[in-house]
Amino acid sequence: MKRMKRFVSTATALLLVAGLCACAGSGTSSTGSGGTTSSAAPAASSTAPAASGSTPAAPAAETIEEAIGFEAVVVPFPAEPLMKYPVENGGKITIWIPLQATVSKYYQTLRENATVQQFIKDTGIDVEFVHPPSGQEKENFNLLVVSDSLPDILSDCNKHYAGGESAAVGDGVFADLTDLVAQYAPDYNYFLENNDLFRKLATTSDNKVYSIYNYKDVQAPYYHRPQLRADWLNEWGMEIPITFDDWEKYFDKVLAEKPGVAPWLPIKNGIEGTFLGAFEIGGHDNGKRFFVKEGQIHYTFNEPRLLEYLELMNKWYTKGYISKDFTTVDRMDNEFANGKVAALVGNTDTLYTLANELDYEVATTPYPRVKDGDAFHFDIFYFPQNGNPNTIAAKSKNKELALQWLNYGFTQHGSGVANFGETGVTWEMGADGVPVFTDYALNNPDIPMSDAEYTLRLHTCWAKYRYGDDISMIRNVALPDTWDYRAKWGMGDDPNPCDNAYALPTLSFTTEAASEIGKLTTDIDTYAEEMILKFITGATPLSEFDTFVKNCEALGMPRLIQLYQEAYDAFLAK
């Protein structure tokens, strides 16, 4: 009887698996019948850009530097490090830092990383790591706050505390480092003093130092770009598309020649920043819905030209250019790699690597334009305050030691370790004082290149001086193709005018403003994201657009913009 039962359960499990496989198989094979049917749908209303009468005057500022009244500078290292390592009175500190999922098969704590070992040896400071469970960083951090057991250094935690860093300092969670920085982190302080823009961004509105940020003063082309199938373009003898008309020709060809392939997969909320940028609204990234134009903060959802974007998207959806499943796709890269999708906006490095592995050709395109000659104002600008804030717990007994540890990543040699790995093993100092990877790092047969970025070196760690990705990432040095692929249309190579004048620097908010922004943003996003998808799919007619804007305003949009404007003005006035 028992054996019988076991047999039955095994058999059913097998049947279930077989059933799933069969379903998946039939799913892919039958797509051919579905994909082409909708191409006969009638064209939607015209998307002529003339619909909006607002021909913008030449923007006051050409670049973000002009807009915010700063010149981007490159600060050289001081001749000698300002702090002597190893430190005289060593000790042990603790660091809270999330661990990348990719490295968990090599080690369970960062302390086992050879780069960290060298950090320990060089600084004379021992460390222990606290790694939160992946996906539960916020809960874990707040639990540590409540239980009064915070480690000394808290890496990238500001976003986890309600109200951000100033609230956390006010509540006695993070320490105020203003009086300690000059003495215990002099090399970090050197960049604060020598790069005005960095000082402005990395300190609070009343010039306090709460967080130690990454510092990066070199620019690089952006890695998030529209991409499509180069092999298909060649097959059809087509050029890289620039205007939306060009894109539509490519989409038409895909519908005609590649049954079952969706021509374009937009981001799942339909708010594709790069494409919005063609209408001089939105911004680069999906998350960036605010932008600044001639000193005024704008919010994408109540811009009149959003209607033009929605008209275009609605037309594309009706014509079958847009994947029917776009609202539920989480792994866009996979859809593209599987050949189910012919174009998308994505990470150039990932997509290029995938294309090489799976043997098809891809190409990046310039930022799309409504018509040839249009300017694009949302190109990337890497602010010298390169994110990754590191704070020190207010109750830490090792504040000085913790600052000395963080400071090492801002010395010339320490930044080499933090960016390139173990000295003499993965890198050597080049003649011009810039580190260079060794052959061991570039051609390591034991570790796949995607993992090497996190095991042979530390791509993300606590705060550090950052080099450009072109020289400090193993993949980009070992396979220069990847870098060329990313850089193809970046940094002035766009055939049309392209600048970063509308980019918005990272703003800091007061505790009250942060809490109000949280409430307003949830309310507006809940409503607007729903409506935008409905406009795109046609569930709500575009004639409702005025009502949409009015409703957004009723939900507090003017107040939200005002809060941002106040923070931006405070930033400029600083």
């Binding site: 019988m4 039962k5 039955v8 359960s9 059913t12 499990a13 279930l16 799933l20 379903c23 998946a24 039939s26 799913g27 892919t28 039958s30 797509t31 019948s33 579905g34 049917t37 909708s38 916020k138 707040n142 706050v145 409540v146 986890h160 505390y161 309600a162 109200g163 609230a167 956390a168 509540d171 006695g172 969670v173 079952g260 799942k268 909320n269 994947s323 029917k324 499943d325 776009f326 609202t327 539920t328 189910k340 809490s515 949280g518 409430k519 949830t522 309310d523 996003d525 809940t526 409503y527 994201e529 729903e530 935008i532 998808l533 409905k534 799919t537 569930a539 939900l555």
Partner: protein, 318 residues
């Protein structure tokens, strides 16, 4: 169950006070009382003590300041939730989804149990039971992943409807189908597991009853209506009352895995809204306030359902 009250209820010791009786009872059933201690501790530590945490619903809770230091704001977060423009929609969606679950999800395991109970071939019956349990052990994330793939425009559901000439579409993006898919997948996942309780109850039925019914000339249908169903009525009502008592709560996990802004209109429930507003913004007070609000309504529903059932059928939880 080894509840102290149940034990003490057995021997009636005249008019003596509760503590005298307890003492006498304790002496007699010492080991039973000791066995109870861990369970009591469990409830005190993990269920009763955390209830004090509910104060954060009335505070502007800041982890750095703790329970004692956070400013008291009264009903601010309750008002904020109820005056939110989408509040009525999320409450309605939560209730409707639960009503769907009640109408379709609740009877499904009972029907399965009744059907299985009527089956003769014991091997075949066991096989069916095992198969129907399996989905219960598949993680919710995986179930939702499968459902997403199946209902994509290239998925098996569309292959099937295409046979009847329907245009393929992303079914999860169709606001009219969302609830059906949500409830349907829930039934698929839970039907087998849920039927265990009823099957266990049915296995305790006295075979003499059926024998007597057969002699009286009752067919299978009559046996079902007059013997089998009455056997499971008490447990069914108990389950129903508990189900009604959780009307306002529906976990956020499945909704977050399945929904998109396109179907907010029918998919956005209280817990998913709280997830976006409370957890993503680290606003614990808001989450606690909504949780408390839900619990109070659930409690009222539970008491009400229990009362109604007592009046109507004589069956109740207490």
């Amino acid at each position: 169950m080894t509840k102290p009250q149940a034990v003490s209820a057995v021997p009636q010791v005249g008019e003596k006070s509760f503590f005298t009786r307890l003492k006498a009872n304790y002496r007699r059933h010492k080991s039973l009382y000791i066995i109870c201690v861990p369970i009591l501790l469990y409830y005190i530590i993990f269920k009763y003590l955390p209830m004090f945490g509910v104060v954060i619903a009335f505070q502007d809770f800041r982890p750095g300041l703790g329970f004692t230091g956070s400013p008291f704001v009264g009903l601010k977060y309750f008002v904020e939730f109820l005056t939110n423009p989408t509040a009525s929609r999320t409450i309605r969606n939560t209730i409707v989804l639960n009503l769907y679950n009640l109408a379709f999800g609740f009877p499904a395991p009972i029907i399965l149990a009744l059907l299985l109970n009527e089956m003769r071939g014991s091997r075949y019956k066991k096989a069916i039971q095992t198969v129907s349990y399996l989905p219960h052990f598949i993680s919710l994330v995986v179930v939702c992943g499968i459902l997403k793939d199946f209902s994509a425009s290239y998925g098996i559901f569309n292959d099937f409807t295409a046979l009847f000439g329907r245009e393929p579409e992303a079914l999860l993006g169709n606001v009219d189908l969302y609830r059906g898919l949500y409830v349907g997948s829930g039934i698929w996942k839970n039907i087998g597991w849920g039927s265990i309780l009823y099957l266990a109850t049915l296995s305790g039925t006295d075979p003499n009853l059926y024998e007597a019914a057969v002699i009286d000339g009752a067919g299978r249908w009559k046996q079902l209506v007059h013997i089998t169903i009455p056997t499971i009525v008490p447990i069914t009502i108990l389950q129903l009352i508990m189900r009604v008592g959780s009307m306002m709560s529906e976990g956020a996990e499945k909704t977050i895995l399945l929904y998109s802004p396109l179907v907010y209109e029918k998919a956005d429930i209280i817990s998913s809204f709280v997830y976006r507003r409370g957890l993503q913004e680290a606003n614990f007070s808001f989450g606690a306030a909504v949780g408390l609000f839900n619990s109070i309504i659930n409690l009222c529903l539970l008491v009400g359902a229990n009362w109604a059932s007592k009046k109507a059928t004589g069956e109740s939880m207490w």
